[in-house]
Point group: C2
């Protein structure tokens, strides 16, 4: 960390309906599946049970019109998983939204931060 | 609901530090305190215990450099609560951030929505 204040992070959840949400947890899970090639490994990195990670993937696969994660079979990595094109698009779009939202609202976030008692990571 | 699709809602949490966060729950609590003049009543409307509502107010009062909620004493409403100027500023700034973020990212949110299997509230 430099002299600069640690910038605040924002966490955005998009709520489409009672059972349709996309937020930071699912985005991180997708990213880690992409990186590890495995739902179990991705979940483990996030301190999530195997069951929970699979449930989240199932939720995502049901929620979107095309599956976002598919299994890879055969070869040395049989039983692995990867993002589909739809999964890449969902992740990219969500991250683009986060970036845009943060840039657009930065001034307000900084105003909130200036009202804090202690600025974490500051000075 | 009309022929129009129900627009997705977004929920934004601003994370300043490990114990400093501002999100939809705290914003709603502040709004309801303003409306009801009572921390207990505000919490009750949100299905929150009296203790939990007070804890959240304490967290906010400690987190910002000036208290955001103060008690009102005397008169028919002795024991009530109201937002301070700092509280109004925190709430306004947070809501302004939400609006700005949503407007800025609307295109991305709509893209995500178009990828859903069923568009909730739609058709």
């Amino acid at each position: 960390m430099s002299d600069d204040d640690q910038p605040p992070r924002i966490r955005i959840r998009v709520v489409f309906g009672p059972d349709e949400m996309m937020g930071p947890g699912k985005a991180e899970l997708l990213e880690r599946i992409r990186a590890t090639g495995s739902i179990a490994a991705a979940g483990r990195e996030m301190g999530m049970s195997y069951k929970r990670a699979w449930q989240l993937v199932e939720t995502l696969n049901t929620m979107f019109s095309a599956p976002v994660v598919e299994s890879t079979r055969g070869g040395a990595r049989g039983g692995g998983a990867r993002l589909t094109d739809a999964g890449e698009a969902v992740l990219d779009t969500y991250r683009a939204f986060e970036d845009e939202a943060y840039r657009a609202g930065r001034e307000h976030v900084e105003r909130l931060q200036s009202m804090l008692r202690d600025i974490p990571g500051g000075k």
